[in-house]
Homo-oligomer: 133 residues x 2
DNA sequence: CTGTATCCGACGTGATACTG
DNA sequence: CAGTATCACGTCGGATACAG
């Protein structure tokens, strides 16, 4: 079950494509698409940040969601978590090389979204008013 | 409430950044991140497709989800829906110019995900076994 | 400061049945 | 063929309280 046998890589057709890769690619896309990951990545681009520092920068994120988001990014090897056993405790989060690599295509996507925002919002308005009354 | 005042465009700092754009960019990212949109876009890159044609190509998608995904893409102006009032009915879905434009950064992201799959899966395994017992 | 634990409502997704 | 309607379930996310 679920999306198999689909090539979303845009890569030229390979001789013996491994179709199971599709699910895995989708899982990476899902991380990018989740509500907060991209924001956290963007915040970390210009250097490591502390937990509450991130929380303050990302307006509206809850403590719980920041924790979960950071755990997810850490699990995928995109972010490192270093604990300084001081009192009070201090924890720094920093992008890995992998994370910095991911930031590039993500920024490209963000730029596209930003430049085409008017068209998309226009299309949404048109669609909504068409299906209004 | 919610992610405001955050620049996820990666654009060089502008004089008077419009912070409300952030939410809108996030909504585009959310579309890319949802479970099926990217697959549909990829399927439509090389020409228009019919409803059931898409359903067959995307292994595992339900009729309901295909409908909802296509509606969402149509609403955002990424896909056109043309009905041929024949019997039986025939409906073609096709990428708009906007949709084809979006496909580019999405493909870039897909390529990145594909090439770095081993590192990510490795990191996930490491993380999971570290936090196992 | 940096989390974890718990509760709860909202939403996304799938399965199934039905319609024009 | 191309949907819509309904239900059922699981996950996501926010709020709050508490801990090391």
């Amino acid at each position: 079950m679920r999306p198999e046998n689909i090539d979303v890589t845009g890569l030229p057709p390979r001789p013996s494509p491994d179709h199971s890769d599709c699910r895995a690619v989708a899982s990476v896309l899902a991380r990018v698409g989740d509500k907060w990951s991209v924001f956290v990545i963007m915040m970390l681009i210009d250097g490591p940040k502390r937990f509450n520092e991130l929380k303050r920068m990302i307006n509206g994120i809850s403590q719980r969601m920041l924790t979960l988001t950071l755990r997810g990014l850490e699990r995928d090897g995109l972010v490192t978590r270093t604990v300084f056993p001081t009192i009070p405790p201090r924890v720094d989060y920093e992008l890995t090389d992998l994370g910095r690599g991911l930031a590039e295509p993500v920024k490209a996507l963000g730029q596209w979204a930003f430049t085409h925002l008017p068209e998309i919002e226009g299309a949404r308005n048109d669609f909504d008013t068409r299906n209004a009354e």
